[in-house]
Amino acid sequence: MANKLLLINGDKDFAGALKTYIERQQYKVVIASTFDEVRHQLDYLSWDIIIADPFLSEDMAACLDSAKKKNSLVQLIILTQRDKLETAMDIFESSVLRYLEMPVNSKALDLALIAACKNISFNIKVSRYSETLADLHSTQDLLNQLFEEVPCYISVQDRNFRITAANKLFKQHFGSQIGEFCFEIYKHRTSQCNECPVAETFQDGKSHSTEEIVTSKFGKQYNVLTQTAPIRNEKGEITQVMEISTNITQIRQLQDHLISLGLMLGSMSHGVKGMLTALDGGVYQLETGLTQKDDDRVFKASGQIKTMADKIKNMVLEILYYAKSRELQYEETTVLTLAESVISSVKPMAKKNAVKLEVSIPKNLGKIDVDRKWMEASLVNFLENAVDACVLDRDKNDHLIKFYVKKNSRNQICFTIEDNGIGMDTETKDKMFTLFFTSKGSQGTGLGLFIAHRVIKYHGGTVEVESEQGKGSQFYICLPFRKPDNANNVEFPMANH
């Protein structure tokens, strides 16, 4: 498109000749010979180039100055009498592209116009570039905002699994750990995880997903669903990997409830089937007894029907007991009875696996309030895990589990369970009480210690763990002798905690 040129000159003939000359070079030229015309043209139209005699009027300088302010890209060429050039230079200084004297040298004019055109096309490029840059900035801001505000944990990692960037939620829960290793921050480990989706993405460039249990900076455990995506450079090489983790802890808790319910229904339905068969048997005996006038059979049958009715009643109560939230069923029992019962449950398993038991249960520890069924199951679970830890250990020939019971200085009863099995790494130690976490692969359900720990917690007790990989583990389980004050508000096992 032709550049628009305003030619300001009081000499109409000269201006006309110049216009004809310039128009040959594909410019669209308008002449302004009076100050009013100049003002009109500058106020209402926009110009690419102005060739002006600044001495057309006294106000020309101010008028040109304001035109330049209005459109900073306009190319100003001064064309005036030789004796006025210096004055013009004093007024306009470097804001003018060229100073030409009248009568104009056509070559000087051509060169000035070429320079003006170059400036114009350069200015257009600069202005396009600025617009692109502004767009880029706003896109970057938007992406940055998305990255920061997405309700997931996002981290970007290099090939060494060092975090190079992290979003707001990640920083809130795991700290601003730029430069640290992912496995240290997420899992409190000292080495890379066995199955790492980030490593896999670096290898094949595809997105990978896993379910993990991670530990926040406050020591809280989260179940997360992790997905990865490669970040490539301009050559298409993967330089970093983005890891996006969604917190699914609540979903897992819900599943926990459903699984408990499923397990309970499974075991109950088997019992119900047996009872219904026996009830059916009772009815048969009653019918045939009456037909055969066999009083003994009738008598026996009515007893059987009654027994079955009682059993079914109890089972229904038990279903309610599981399905509804319930309080722990506290009863007073001696510590000795509780501990001995626990040991007798574990003995066969220990013996079968050639693990020795060293037991110390003083007889004078008195009585304790517990839900005996749950407490026994919980302590047995801790001991069974100790046996498992010994079975898995191939380095030592002899395995021993110590089970000590004593009173501590805070008037609590403390069970010490110590084994010389495989021990635990930091990750296992951190997560052992988390739902569905298991270090036993397909052999474990991730339910046992989770429930066992809950039982202790709901009794107002505590569990402390010390462990060294390859050497063994010690569990210190301490319980108050009496029911805690808030015990009545505690629901088990269906409570959502």
Partner: protein, 117 residues
Amino acid sequence: MKKKILVIDDDLNIRDYLVSLFNDNGYEAYIAGDVKEGIKEANKIKPDLITLDIEMPGEWGPRFYRQLSQDPKLKNIPVIVISGLSGHQYAVVKAVASLTKPFDREELLKIVKETLN
């Protein structure tokens, strides 16, 4: 001569029921409460048919069947599984029938009759 049926079940009430049912229908019923006792009784009385529960304390039903089928004198005795355990039909695949507790009385008698004839 009456055909002999051995009932193996750990539930006393169900054993009584099956014994009455079989005796009332012209059979001679015997009982065992677990796998060990079942093998002992089977050797002693040489039954014509065995009903077998799956889930019992100690060893479970399929183990009884394995021992039975390894004994040349007992291996041809037909076995009917009667269990409340889900998936019991897969526990003893060579059983003549697998019935779910609570079972249908007429159906059981029909299977027994067909098997013994």
